[in-house]
Amino acid sequence: MLAFLHQVLSGLATGGIYASVALALVMIYQATHQVNFAQGEMATFSTYMAWKMIDSGFPYWAAFLLTLVFAFVVGVTIERVIVRPFYKAPVLSVVAVFIGLLLIINSLSGAIFDYTIKPFPSPFPSDAWYGSPYLSSHEVGMIFVTLMVLALIFAFFRFTPLGLAMRAAAENPVSSRLVGVRVGWMLALGWGLAGMIGAVAGMMTAPIVYLDPYMMFSVLLYGFAGALLGGIDNPWGAVLGGFIVGVLQNLAGAYVVGTELMVTVALVIIVGILVIKPSGLFGRTIVTRV
């Protein structure tokens, strides 16, 4: 029973990582109706910047804030320079561009910072959480940060005119222009904010999994699964989805089939749930009349 509890808690910790990436995906989806496959690599690259700054003597929080600014600027720039010419291109062409971006950023991380892993500091105390062997204080802190980001995103989309305009721009650019929304900047802003959220996710993930160019590669996959499972148009659902994926993975590995097929089983379960509930557990079904 204790072991079971332990598995669940450690799953929650991993799930927290997925949840934080899922939030970045929700952000970009709400703002552009696209799933950016390069999101994880952008987060990794931002985390490298933070590492570089801390390594050269910046205090943690200064580096943290500067990294957020950096990630925002990078996000906006990528949108303006690389993605923008493709807004009229077919969806799959855009997907190909995202794949290209993923390869470029991943490769650059490796070329600039090489492939050996780097330890990344945590802003939280380094001892275990209240002496508990189950969760470290960083893991608890990370879950807390994720929930905070979630609350911010939720409030942003729900209560601010800018959030509303962003959702509108993603859904229907033509109509958005007709109500005076500057669609181009909304999309760029969405990329910038998603970049920032990704950077937070990266800086929270790195102390746990260590920093290397592939740090976010698989995290993105599970974050994506979590976001879809919970509902990609719903930040709460996405975060919950992330936690579910984390716990599910652990339990599947520990109790169902053994570790060698753990990924397979977890994915089969996720896809199975989606087949039954095609818009995610908490996603809204968009009804359009014919």
Binding site: L2, Y115, T116, P119, A128, P133, I208, S218, T259, M262
Partner: protein, 401 residues
Amino acid sequence: MRFRTSLLTAAALLALAGPAFAADAPGVTATEIKIGNTMPYSGPASAYGVIGKGETAFWKMVNEQGGVAGHKIDFISVDDGYNPAKTVEQARRLVEQDGVAFLFNPLGTPSNTAIEKYLNQKKIPQLFVATGADKWGNYKDFPWTIGWQPSYRTEAEIYARYILQEKPNAKIGVLYQNDDFGKDYLAGLKDGLGDKYAKMVIKEASYEVTDPTIDSQVVTLQGAGVDTLVTAATPKFAAQTIRKVYDIGWRPLHFMTNVSISVASVMEPAGVEKAVGLISASYGKDPTDPTWKDDPGMNQWRDFMKKYMPGADLADASYVYAYGVSLTMLQVLKQCNGDFSRENVMKQAANLKDFELPTVLPGIKLNTSPTNYHPIRQMQLEKWNGKTWVLFGKVLGGAGS
């Protein structure tokens, strides 16, 4: 012009197709030897690409120092993305298009497996392959393929014998990467423990390279009551394992694969104090271990790095590996005495006698013969004391194959 080139290519092809005479020496001209190599410069195993870069720098150094017996080395290293299908294509490019004399240190177990048959059929040496699998000493079936480093299986066998001796009632758990590398450790433990394996190994847990963490696996192993842990994980996961084991207050007797004992890229990220008591076995010197700070052998390597790979990460043990294996290759070329035919190169590769490398542990010597295709078959156990690895016991030879 074009026509001529294709004629020349055709001629080269004809030469390849015919029986190889020593005098033909494909890939060798009066002034040059062409050596081929495949590496994962792209894809998930790109971390190993630095080996290829180190080797390229090494041959540049050799050429600047005058080459081998009046021959410059044309080292052609190409990307296979760690995809065996691509390796096949690239190996054939190297042989048929570029006309290399032989392949040196192609990386990856599946990649080498994919080209082994082709190269042996064509009687092209596949020298000092960069993989720790055990199969690379099969001189009977594949006389043109030779390994270099001690196999993972040998290493695991050493751990198994140590456990049998020191802790005969151990409850062993294995944490392994779900690929050829990890599974070789399972095989080695089976070799070493024999029929006790089923009783002693009470839990096996694997992870995928795509898993973000191994927390769940560590918890599972602890939960199963394991008191002796053998970890076959790459550096990132090794560091995670050491830290997680410590953090959950678990103190098993912990063996760590030789792949992941770098001070800079495993011990320090994991937390040097969390790794105290960790046992491993090694054959090479760790560039980040203070023990070798003033070691003349390692200084030789450092000089090379300073001059030919400025700016490279000196903590990366892959460069030490590249240097060591290249030195071995150089020795073989020197032994060839000017006859760089494929037969002679292979013959000399299988004729190393007590060759010593500056980058391997003192007392370890490289030996090969027509019936011994395992150049390095010795390792020494070592224990982490919180600051450095402390060697203990004798230099051990695996029973090997």
